[in-house]
């Protein structure tokens, strides 16, 4: 099982931008929140949702043919498929909303690192199987709660995709929680690996609940969700699973923020290099 050990990754996190500098990297519109139009807020919201799913789906695809067993291989590939499906819907809708003739493919394959709006958690390397499952557990638990709220979004595409995908994401959350328990309450080796995976990924959790000005506006306009509403539920569920896994929650660490504004680690560029190579090298290629 290949992957980057946490120690080699450790050098890379950048300084977290302060929460108030929410307009860094914002390209359109005036910098005050009230100056943004509905469609600008919707576009950014759709990009955040779509990029989370796209990048994690691509990450899971890296396991294809490499998982510990064929059943696990199928699980990882199928979760990746679900996520790519979400991304397709969200990014196509983002392209429609933008009205510049870009579709989901264009947004996925022809943007560069600074234009991606995914959170840091999803771009983290697969590491070993324990780290991959720890990442899935932390993300899918959050995404299930997020989609639960987004089913009531004022935007009908977001509401429809959330209502459809939440059933699939519930499965991802259950599957990854089972593996956290199995590995955490397993052998010394599996336990140590799960602890290391959780310890590395823990610093990326606060970003999931960050409410910058775009997220706040999206929530106030009924498009997006106020993630702070389900923070307590999230913490409770994570801790319940960790308790069953006989694991202690890692100590809180300095949070890494900024993905929503285009600040990413070195890993995202490598993901994009693999993901975007073909459509960029052969722009007219079709299936």
């Amino acid at each position: 099982m290949g992957g980057t050990e946490p120690d080699t990754v450790r050098a890379e996190p950048v300084e977290a931008p302060s929460l108030s500098s929410s307009d860094a990297g914002k390209k359109e519109g005036p910098s005050t929140g009230s100056g943004r139009t509905d469609s600008e807020i919707l576009f950014e919201t759709l990009l955040r949702l779509g990029d989370d799913s796209l990048i994690l789906g691509q990450r899971l695809g890296e396991w294809c043919g490499h998982a510990p067993s064929v059943e696990v291989d199928l699980s990882l590939a199928n979760m990746g498929l679900d996520l790519i499906g979400q991304a397709t819907h969200f990014l196509n809708a983002a392209g429609d909303c933008e009205g510049q003739g870009r579709d989901g493919d264009k947004l996925a394959f022809h943007r560069d690192v600074l234009d991606f709006r995914n959170c840091w958690l999803v771009e983290q390397p697969n590491g070993d199987f324990a780290q991959t499952m720890a990442r899935q557990f932390l993300f899918s638990t959050w995404q299930e709660m997020l989609f639960g709220h987004l089913q009531g979004s004022a935007d009908e595409t977001i509401a429809a995709v959330a209502a459809k995908a939440v059933k699939e994401v519930r499965y991802h959350a259950e599957l990854s929680a089972e593996w956290v328990i199995r590995l955490g309450d397993g052998t010394d080796e599996s336990r140590a690996r799960m602890e290391a995976g959780l310890d590395w990924l823990w610093r990326f959790v606060p970003e999931l609940f960050e409410m910058d000005s775009i997220a706040t506006e999206a929530a106030s306009r009924g498009i997006g969700a106020d993630a702070t509403l389900f923070r307590d539920d999230y913490d409770a569920r994570i801790r319940a699973v960790l308790a069953e896994a006989t694991l202690e929650a890692p100590k809180d660490q300095r949070p890494i923020l900024g993905g929503r504004r285009g600040h990413h680690g070195e890993h995202l560029g490598h993901i994009l290099a693999a993901m975007q190579y073909l459509p960029r090298a052969y722009p007219d290629a079709t299936w």
């Binding site: 990746g80 498929l81 196509n92 579709d103 059933k167």
Partner: protein
Amino acid sequence: MVRAIRRSKALPLGGGDEQVRIAPRSEAMPGGHGDLFMGGGEGLRQRETPAFTPPQPLPIKGRGLEAIWSVLEGVPDPEIPVVSVVDLGIVREVRPDRVIITPTYTGCPATLVIEQDIRAALNAAGYRDVAIDTTLSPPWTTDWISESGKAKLHAYGIAPPSLAPTATCPQCGSTDTEEVSRFGSTPCKAQWRCRDCLEPFDRFKCH
């Protein structure tokens, strides 16, 4: 990635078009989604799906909705060819000028193939002017798989979706079975094993 959503503005929201033919449903839809489909009334009667036959060009003169349904019943699911797209509940609605379909899973790779197969079948039957719209809402559920579809799945070796804690082995009929993996050969199925005959089998996940 391919474009999967084209907005169809026209889910039948009640009352309206007598001509609208409602997709068969094996059981009442949970959570009140069903209300969205309560058009017309008599359109809701249970539909008997004939045994699966390969797609065949139909010499259709009329433009009846029955004829379009017949064409669709001849379109097999690309992953599970023993059932049709109608059996699986993928076809939600047929109108004189359009067919409305819904994907099973968000990322189901067969979604595009299904649309292409339906397009080809409609074209072959002379319905080039009938459009295909895809809608996500209300989300597809295994409750929409018809009873005959479930029987065909079982006969094919796939345990149909069920809330029962154990699956019935499609090979030997035993209920002494266990889940091996939550994901099977496709996103919609889990991998199971029979403890009696020891054969592995797919079980359609409840969704």
